[in-house]
């Protein structure tokens, strides 16, 4: 029903407090972007992301989703930077006017390794964390309940919205609307498709906000939550540890004079 990537399993990773996972993700991203060495990213993948994926049992889906996102980016990155990197001097392969430089490939490796970590770690979080749990956990920590409402509600609205868009497309075709024609004509046919979609969904909004008010969404009381968010002392300590590690990662290259 909902349109998220969440992969419902019962692993230790799935059961962790969502905030713990979020902080771990942020720490990983900060680390790889702060220490500009491709092998640091590689180590994080091998030592952190892969083991976590294996424990979670969602490794297969992680692999297929990430490949779909990463493959085109990596291809473009290495071709474009290998060939045209402005700082490229050392030509390692030449064919006609095409020069591949080692600086370009090294640059692509540096950037690419970070993107791989960013994508893998983020998707792993999404696969192992139910968005509802993530929202409850963040609301408990002071995030505005309006954010939680909007994110959860959007995730559940998207399928309904798609259904509605499909029905409108069909209804207008059944009235003889043809989707063929030049681009200008096709922009024109956006109108009979978008107007009913927008008006219908936005009219629903009026009703929905009425229903929300009737259920005390505008209340000024301190909110409670039906389902408790699991947490433990170990996780609390771990969160602080991740933060310290991330700060250390930011400081390291400066202290070592790498920059």
């Amino acid at each position: 029903m909902s349109s998220t990537l969440f992969d419902n399993r019962k692993s230790v990773i799935h059961r962790l407090n969502p905030v713990t996972k979020l902080i771990a993700l942020l720490a990983i991203i900060v680390t790889v972007f702060a220490i500009p060495l491709w092998w640091v990213a590689g180590l994080i993948i091998v030592l952190v992301v892969v083991p976590a994926a294996v424990i979670s049992g969602s490794g297969g889906r992680l692999l297929s989703l990430s490949l779909r996102i990463l493959l085109p980016i990596m291809l473009v990155l290495f071709i474009v930077q290998g060939l045209t990197f402005p700082g490229g001097k050392t030509i390692i392969w030449q064919w006609g006017i095409i020069d591949v430089t080692s600086e370009g490939l090294l640059f692509a490796l540096g950037i690419g390794s970070r993107i791989i970590v960013l994508v893998l770690a983020s998707i792993l979080l999404v696969l192992t964390t139910h968005p509802g749990d993530l929202m409850s956990a963040l609301t408990e920590r002071g995030m505005s309940p309006k954010f939680a409402y909007i994110i959860s509600s959007t995730l559940q609205l998207i399928p309904a919205f798609k259904d509605r868009a499909d029905s409108i497309l069909l209804a207008q075709q059944a009235r003889g609307l043809s989707l063929k024609g030049n681009p200008l004509r096709r922009i024109k046919i956006m109108l009979p498709l978008l107007s009913p979609l927008v008006l219908g969904m936005f009219t629903d909004v009026e009703e929905r906000s009425t229903a929300m008010e009737a259920r005390a969404f505008g209340s000024t009381a301190r909110r409670t939550s039906l389902i408790p968010v699991a947490d433990s002392m170990v996780q609390r300590i771990a969160r602080w540890l991740f933060i310290v590690l991330a700060l250390a990662a930011v400081a390291t290259p400066i202290l070592l004079g790498l920059l």
């Binding site: 980016i73 950037i111 959007t154 998207i158 109108l191 906000s209």
Partner: protein
């Protein structure tokens, strides 16, 4: 929204303004640091923290803006934002079905900004990218600031009356597109090395081959596509809004306050609303929710 003084909420309002101001300053400072303050040779190497600064500066700035903005939104607007986000995502897909050469993935953001103002646009913008991150690909997350800028600019364009005449909207869209291109260039360059997609990557490569720096190439690439895309998006929004019944449009307090769509004299609304019971207009309702402590 600020016509009646809600004293208990004053401190909250000050806090929200600080969030918005600091968020804006961080975003501008990030851009200036990356573009002006960076020696070019560092910007051309992967051995730098430019990527971290680009992500961190933009994301933190955008989050602060969103926190400051969301407190201003009444329940009716909060309920509208999910629809707008879904519109961004679903229209993007319809467009690919019909086969248009543009993205049109910010129609919902522009629409909300025109109906409910820049604050609503900011929240719609940032959360659009969060939803993208949760449903399609985390690649979208670093670009959240771009949608935030679309929301802000569309909201102010509405306040300035750019949606009153259909030929002003594409101008506002094109200007928004230019700002988007400039702001997003450092992310494309320092975080993704110019490789955000097949077509765009090739264009970045072509500009680099012509002697542009990476940042210069991504900026030029953005300037090729963003102004056109946003001009079309703004135009579609103004056409949709014109097709909707005026009763629907006039229901939004922002639309009435800034006379977003012209024609309807604002005095008329006041005549009908003024003699009513004390709580008769939407203004006090908005302030009630505005006073909600959210943490």
């Amino acid at each position: 929204m600020s016509s009646t003084a809600a004293t208990p909420a004053d401190s909250k309002k000050v806090r929200n303004r600080i969030f918005i101001a600091v968020g804006t300053i961080i975003i501008i400072a990030t851009y200036l640091y990356l573009v002006v303050g960076q020696p070019t040779d560092i910007a051309q190497s992967s051995f730098s923290q430019s990527g971290l600064i680009a992500i961190a500066g933009y994301v933190v700035g955008a989050i602060l803006l969103a926190i400051g903005a969301i407190h201003r939104l009444p329940t009716a607007t909060v309920a509208m934002v999910p629809v707008a986000i879904a519109l961004n995502i679903v229209v993007g897909q319809i467009v690919s079905v019909i086969g248009l050469p543009v993205y049109l993935d910010s129609i919902g953001t522009v629409l909300v900004s025109a109906l409910a103002g820049p604050a609503a646009g900011v929240v719609t913008g940032i959360l659009t990218n969060v939803i993208w991150g949760l449903t399609l690909s985390p690649i979208a997350l670093p670009y959240a600031v771009v949608q935030v800028i679309i929301g802000v600019m569309a909201g102010y364009a509405a306040r300035l009356g750019m949606f009153r005449l259909f030929y002003l909207a594409p101008v506002a869209g094109a200007i928004t597109g230019i700002v988007c291109a400039i702001v997003s260039a450092p992310i494309s360059a320092f975080v993704f090395g110019g490789a955000t997609g097949g077509g765009t990557g090739a264009i970045v490569g072509a500009f680099q081959a012509m002697g542009q720096s990476l940042l210069g190439a991504t900026t030029l690439q953005g300037l090729l596509s963003d102004p056109l895309d946003k001009a079309i998006s703004f135009t579609i929004v103004v056409l949709i809004l014109a097709a909707l019944p005026s009763r629907f449009r006039q229901r939004f307090p922002f639309v009435r306050q800034y006379n977003v769509f012209g024609r309807k004299a604002p005095a008329l609304q006041h005549q009908t609303a003024a003699p009513a019971a004390p709580a008769a207009s939407a203004v006090p309702a908005a302030d009630v929710t505005d006073a909600t402590p959210d943490n």
